[in-house]
Amino acid sequence: MSAAAPGAAPVRDAVEWRLAAPLGLTYVVFFAAPFLILLGISFYADAEQTRLGFDSWVKFYTDAFYLKVIFDTLKLGVFAVVATTILAYPLALVFRASSPRMQRVLIFIILMPLLTSVVIRTFAWIVILAREGVINQTLMGLGLTATPLNLLQTELGLVLALTQIEMPLMLLPLLAIMNQLDQNLIDASRALGASKWRTFFRVILPLTLPGWIAGATLVFASATTAFISQSVIGGARLVYLPALIWQQSMVVYNWPFAAVASLTLLFTVLSGIMALSWLGRFARTT
C-alpha cells in the first residue's frame, strides 16, 4: 500500500486507523466499562452495597470451601485439556494421512458438534449417562455390572461430557497446524531409523505444539466456564466457580461476593492461558 504512494502513507494510515473507532468504542462502553463496574462492586463490604471494604475478598479467600471451588474449577479445566489432547492428537494424525475428500468429511464431523448448541450437547449426555442411559444399558447388557452406575453428578461423567463438548476447539487449531507440517521432516526421521513412536514424540509433537497451545487455551477457557454442563451434569453436589457466581448473583443477591467470584474466574482463566503461553515459549527455547 504505502509503497505505491510513500508521501501519502501517514494520511492514509490515519484515515484507515479511524475505521477501528466504532468497534473500539463499542468495546470500551459495553465491554471494558462493565468490567470496571464489576471491579468496583467487588469492593462493597455487604450485600446491600452500603459500605466499602475488602470484606467480600477476605471472606472468599479465607474460606476453605471457596478455595476448594477455585481448585476444583482449575482441575476440571486441566482434566478437559488432558482428555481432549489424548483423543485429538490421534485423530489429527489420521486427518493428516487422509485424502482431501476424507478430510472434508472429518471437518464436517468435527464442526457438527461445535455448531450444535451446548445445551443440546449437555442434554445428549444426560441421555447417555443416566441410570437407564446408553452406557449403563451397555455395561449391564454385557454383564459387566449388575447395578447401574451413577455417572450423572460425578466428576468422571462431567469430564466425559466436556471432552465431547470441547474437543472441536482442540481439534481445529491442531488440524490446521498438522496440515502445514513438512512431510520431509517426518520422512527424514523415519529414514534415520526412528520408529513411528519416536518420530511422533520427537518431531511431530514439538512442531505442532503451537497448535496444541491454541487449542488447549480454548478448551481450558471453555471448560472452566461451561455453566450449563457443569450444573446439569455435575448437579448440586459439584460446585464450580460459574455456579457459585450464578447462585450468589441471581439467587442470594450478594453482588459484591458474586463480583469477587466472577473476577476470580477471570483470573483463573487468565492464569491458565498465561501458563500455556509460557509453556509455548519454554518449549520453543529448549
Partner: protein
C-alpha cells in the same frame, strides 16, 4: 514409509487408529442419540427408543402448549440477527483499519478485539448486568443485542482479518495506478474478495449468539427469554422430551446452513487452513 513395519510401528498405527475411532465415536454418537431420542413414543428419555413417532415434534409445534418455547426461539433469532449484522459491520471496518498497520498499537488492538473469545464470558455476563443496572437501564432485547454483539464480533473480525491478510496488495496498487479511487477499489476489489471470509465469520457469530448462555443467563428475564436459557430451565425441572425435538430441529437447521455456507464460502476449508 510402509516397507518396513516393525512391531513398534504396528503398535503405533493400532493405537492411533483405535483412539481416533473412539474420538470420532465420542464426537458423533451424542448427536445421533439425541436425534433418535426425539422420535420416541414415550415420556422417558430412552435410547434406543421403544417406538418411533413424531409425537414430540407435534407437541413442539403446538402453538398453545409450546408458546413459551416459540417466544424464546423468536427472541433468540431476533437478537442473533441484529447482533450479527451490527457486529459484522463494526468488525469489518475494524479489520480494514488494522490489517495494513504494523505498529505495535495495532497488534495490541487486534488482541483486545479478539479477547472475548478466551476471556470467560460468564464473568462478562455478570459485569454487563451490573453495568446496566448501575445505569438504571431495564432489561430488554436491545440490551441482549449489545451484550451478544461484544461476544460474537471477534468471530467476524478474525475471519475478515484472515481474508485481508491473504489479499494480494498488488491488486490494490494496480487499481490505484489505473486511477480508481480508494472507495472504488474497496468496492470492486477488496470487498468481493473478502466477502466469503466475512460470511463465514458472520455464520459462526450467528450460531454463537443463538447458542449463547453466559450473557443471556444474566441479561435475559422472564419477559425476554432466550432459547438456550429456556431449554436449560426445561432440563432442570422435568426432563421434557420436547428438548430432544428442539435439538432435532436445530441440528437439521445447522446442517442445512452448513452445507449452504460450505458451497458459498468454503467454510470447511476456511476452518482447517
Amino acid at each position: 514409509m510402509s516397507q518396513r513395519s516393525t512391531p513398534a510401528d504396528i503398535s503405533f498405527n493400532l493405537t492411533v487408529g483405535l483412539i481416533a475411532g473412539i474420538a470420532i465415536l465420542i464426537l458423533v454418537a451424542p448427536v445421533l442419540i439425541v436425534i433418535a431420542t426425539s422420535f420416541t413414543t414415550t415420556q422417558a428419555l430412552r435410547f434406543p427408543p421403544p417406538g418411533l413417532s413424531l409425537r414430540w415434534y407435534g407437541e413442539l409445534f403446538d402453538p398453545v402448549r409450546s408458546a413459551p418455547i416459540h417466544t424464546a426461539a423468536l427472541n433468540s433469532l431476533w437478537v442473533a440477527g441484529w447482533a450479527t449484522v451490527i457486529g459484522s459491520v463494526l468488525s469489518v471496518l475494524a479489520a480494514l483499519a488494522i490489517t495494513r498497520v504494523s505498529r505495535p498499537s495495532a497488534r495490541a488492538l487486534e488482541a483486545s478485539f479478539l479477547s472475548p473469545l478466551v476471556l470467560p464470558t460468564l464473568s462478562y455476563g455478570l459485569a454487563a448486568l451490573m453495568f446496566f443496572s448501575v445505569l438504571g437501564i431495564r432489561p430488554s432485547l436491545n440490551l441482549l443485542i449489545a451484550g451478544h454483539l461484544v461476544v460474537i464480533a471477534p468471530f467476524v473480525f478474525r475471519t475478515t482479518l484472515a481474508s485481508l491478510t491473504q489479499l494480494d496488495p498488488a491488486l490494490l496498487e494496480a487499481s490505484a495506478n489505473l486511477g480508481a479511487s480508494r472507495f472504488y477499489s474497496f468496492r470492486r476489489i477488496t470487498l468481493p474478495l473478502i466477502t466469503p471470509g466475512i460470511a463465514a465469520g458472520a455464520f459462526l457469530a450467528f450460531i454463537a449468539s443463538m447458542d449463547n448462555v453466559p450473557v443471556s443467563l444474566f441479561l435475559s428475564t422472564a419477559r425476554t427469554s432466550m432459547l438456550p436459557i429456556r431449554m436449560w430451565g426445561m432440563m432442570e425441572s422435568t426432563l421434557d422430551v420436547r428438548i430432544a425435538a428442539i435439538a432435532g430441529v436445530l441440528i437439521v437447521a445447522i446442517l442445512v446452513l452448513m452445507v449452504v455456507m460450505d458451497r458459498f464460502t468454503g467454510l470447511t476449508r476456511r476452518v482447517s487452513a
